[in-house]
């Protein structure tokens, strides 16, 4: 790869973001610990009957993963804007949307993949039947990148404001409703032995659309955020 070419630029940016995340691996562990602790609260709060827990397990895991992702989203572009790296990315020869997509990919790898790894453990703590586990993982593999992409657009939109954490949550959570409905719907169908492909296909369609549109929207929003 010649330096300055598009693949080299994507690889360099991905590598930098993954290296930075690794140097601060304590931050990667936070959302995972958060998810584990919140999950353990549920049996204490609503009682340990296996039938009840199994019924709510899927929904609870999806909502907890969603909130854990929300926790980490705020840092997505903030560091780059504050230390001047964003100017470097914006003046680069590559389209900003592509570079932003790489940053979102790196963020998904560092924030969501660990959650997907622990999600089956969390679900089995809540007595989710083992035969529903593959559907849980498939639904998470499709819904977490979708949430990261939707969240990234909103992070870019709120990047200009100082304390954007709560504003981000208020704006993102309504957009997550369809994602949660389809993901939890697929899992509920699998638990009852019904076909679960249709909601998964809807998640896939949403992800395909977000993959194309979200980086473009992000790039446009970041340019507005820098124009202050």
């Amino acid at each position: 790869m010649t330096p300055g070419s598009t693949p080299a630029a994507c690889a360099a940016l991905l590598r930098r973001d993954l290296t930075l995340a690794w140097r601060r691996r304590g931050d990667i562990a936070m959302p995972v610990l958060y998810a584990v602790i919140v999950t353990t609260l549920f049996p204490f709060a609503i009682g340990p009957e296996p039938a009840l827990l199994a019924r709510i397990a899927g929904g609870v895991v999806f909502v907890i993963v969603l909130l854990a992702i929300l926790l980490s989203l705020d840092h997505l572009f903030r560091g780059d804007i504050e230390d001047g790296s964003m100017e470097l990315l914006m003046l680069a020869p590559q389209p900003l949307a592509l570079l932003v997509a790489m940053k979102i990919l790196a963020h998904w790898i560092t924030s969501s993949l660990p959650l997907i790894v622990v999600a089956p453990v969390l679900a089995s703590m809540l007595k989710l039947p083992p035969e529903a586990m593959p559907v849980l993982v498939i639904a998470l593999l499709l819904s977490t990148p979708l949430l990261c992409l939707l969240g990234a657009v909103l992070v870019a939109l709120t990047a200009g404001s100082r304390r954007s954490g709560m504003l981000l949550a208020l704006m993102l959570l309504p957009l997550c409703v369809p994602v949660v409905i389809f993901a939890a719907g697929a899992l509920a169908a699998a638990q009852e032995g019904l076909p679960w492909v249709a909601p998964i296909a809807w998640l896939g369609a949403g992800l395909a659309m977000a993959l194309v549109l979200a980086p473009l929207a992000c790039a446009a929003a970041l340019r507005i955020a820098m124009d202050t």
């Binding site: 300055g4 290296t19 003046l91 340019r223």
Partner: protein
């Protein structure tokens, strides 16, 4: 210093001004920078030097007037790595080493032929610090790590906002030497400063901003 034969300016501003809440921050100003030319933007604190720089990078939309790069209207979509900007925020990741920071810039912009990461880090006086996290470097050394990026990238236009801040006497001489080399290669540079600056190679063009 000799200007190249062609007369298209590398970077040109025409009646450029910037408004904040309908109050002009600077301008209207006109200037044209040809290859091999270095211009110094002077002005007191608050006279709009940094704002001018950000308008020239395309981050801020000018109120009126236009910026031309190589005779074509400048936009972030067409800049194609021809411009590199060094501002108050150095664009360095403090958790990474100078070498790693350069690697990202090189991946994005490519590398000027005939140089590499080690050579530019030696040139700016960071030999021996290549693999220390930037966090542990002094303010002046951080600045030098950012200056190394200018040397490594093939960009023809340098926009330097207060490049002399935090630098010792040697560092100031280093910036002047880098600017001279850049001009000799046919590049153009716009430098802001609020203090008195003397370039090694003769008197630079001066663009004065009034508060």
């Amino acid at each position: 210093m000799t200007s190249p034969p062609d007369h298209t300016a590398l970077l040109e501003a025409r009646a450029l001004c910037f408004l904040r809440q309908d109050e002009p921050v600077f301008g209207p100003i006109d200037f044209a920078l040809r290859g091999g030319e270095i211009a110094l933007v002077e002005g007191d604190n608050g006279s709009g030097k940094t704002t001018l720089m950000r308008v020239l990078t395309g981050m801020l939309r000018p109120g009126e007037g236009e910026v031309l790069l190589d005779g074509a209207p400048f936009s972030l979509d067409t800049v194609a790595g021809a411009v590199v900007f060094l501002g108050h925020h150095l664009g360095l990741k403090f958790d990474m080493t100078p070498r790693e920071n350069l690697r990202l810039a090189a991946g994005l912009y490519g590398v000027r032929s005939g140089t590499d990461e080690n050579a530019v880090l030696r040139e700016v006086g960071l030999a021996g610090y290549e693999d220390e996290p930037v966090r542990q470097l002094s303010a002046g050394q951080k600045k030098r790590a950012a200056l190394a990026r200018l040397l490594l990238l093939p960009a023809r236009v340098w926009l330097l906002d207060e490049p002399y801040a935090n630098l010792d006497r040697d560092g100031i001489a280093l910036v002047n030497r880098l600017l001279d080399q850049h001009a000799a290669r046919g590049g153009a540079a716009l430098v802001t400063s609020h203090g008195a600056v003397s370039f090694a190679g003769g008197e630079p063009r001066r663009i004065r901003l009034h508060a």
